[in-house]
């Protein structure tokens, strides 16, 4: 069914930050999808809680752009192989690029909130 998508501002904000968050997270250590959902929530102290519906499409897009290198690893005998993602060189460069843009953006917007930060 074709429907017009209702844009939720908070979802849009999260979606924009997700690419950077995933690249930053995977720059620390390679990981697989199942562990990333809880791993990201922990690493961001609950600031970035995501579901499969946003995680896997985002991973797929990053993989398609060549920023991630996927690899199936069979770690435990009798268990299904897990798809681990590691950052490629392009991924590392992309992370640097996004990080350089992100920090002044967040600092600048936070300044705009002014006294509201204290509330």
């Amino acid at each position: 069914m074709i429907v017009a998508r209702k844009v939720d501002a908070v979802s849009e904000l999260r979606r924009g930050a997700l690419e950077l968050a995933l690249l930053a997270y995977l720059n620390r250590k390679p990981d697989f999808g199942g562990a990333m959902i809880s791993g990201l929530a922990e690493a961001t102290a609950g600031g970035l809680v995501i579901t499969e519906g946003s995680l896997y499409p985002a991973l797929g897009r990053l993989e398609k752009k060549g920023f991630l290198n996927p690899e199936f690893r069979k770690e435990v005998e009798g268990r299904k192989p897990r798809k681990y993602y590691t950052l490629t060189e392009e991924g590392v460069l992309r992370l640097k690029e996004l990080k350089a843009a992100w920090i002044p953006l967040v600092d600048g917007v936070t300044l705009l909130f002014g006294d509201e930060n204290d509330e």
Binding site: V3, T51, E52, G53, Y56, K80, P81, R82
Partner: protein, 177 residues
């Protein structure tokens, strides 16, 4: 069938027309997640499958099918080509062709839509050129065959419209998340 199997079946349905390799690879990834967490992945499985279809795109075979089918549809929608059969509903085939191009654009994205539109436009443009430049030749075999300028202009404009529909419509249609 286990709950996980049922979940993966719904994901596969959402990933309709995606290559079998990508479907299997993604379902294995979800199955590994379910094994690790001990719970089913969250969210609507069919919506997740659709979101992944947007990432992977449809399979090459399906793209080829969409593009090749557009050619005979375009042919049957060309009034001067099917004019030998006066009752032939060329306009109906034109509408079907437009729907087909939109379908290609929806499932395959802008470039598939453009290629499908071009494939449908080719027989129409050929028909047009034949009747502009070879009408005299045709009339040696068929009596007083004539096509009005209005018909020529309409065929030309609708032919141009097909690849444009393919390119622009797909990008405008949003699927539910």
């Amino acid at each position: 069938m286990s709950e996980l199997d049922n979940y993966l079946k719904q994901v596969r349905k959402g990933m309709r027309f995606v290559s079998g390799f990508n479907k299997t690879s993604f379902c294995n990834e979800l199955a590994a997640q379910a094994e690790y967490t001990g719970t089913l992945p969250g969210g609507n499985p069919r919506a997740l499958g659709k979101a992944m279809r947007q990432v992977y795109g449809i399979s090459m075979w399906f793209r080829i099918l969409l593009i090749t089918t557009a050619f005979p549809l375009g042919l049957l929608s060309t009034p001067m080509i099917v004019a030998w059969f006066p009752e032939f509903p060329a306009i109906l085939f034109l509408l079907l062709t437009m729907l087909w191009v939109m379908l290609a654009s929806y499932y395959g994205g802008r470039w598939s839509g453009l290629m499908t539109g071009l494939s449908a436009a080719v027989p129409r443009i050929i028909g047009l050129l034949v009747f502009i430049f070879a009408l005299e030749f045709i009339n040696q075999y068929f009596d007083s065959y004539q096509v009005s300028e209005g018909t020529l202009a309409t065929v030309f404009l609708t032919s141009l419209l097909l690849p444009l529909i393919g390119f622009f419509v797909g990008g405008r249609i949003r699927r539910p998340d």
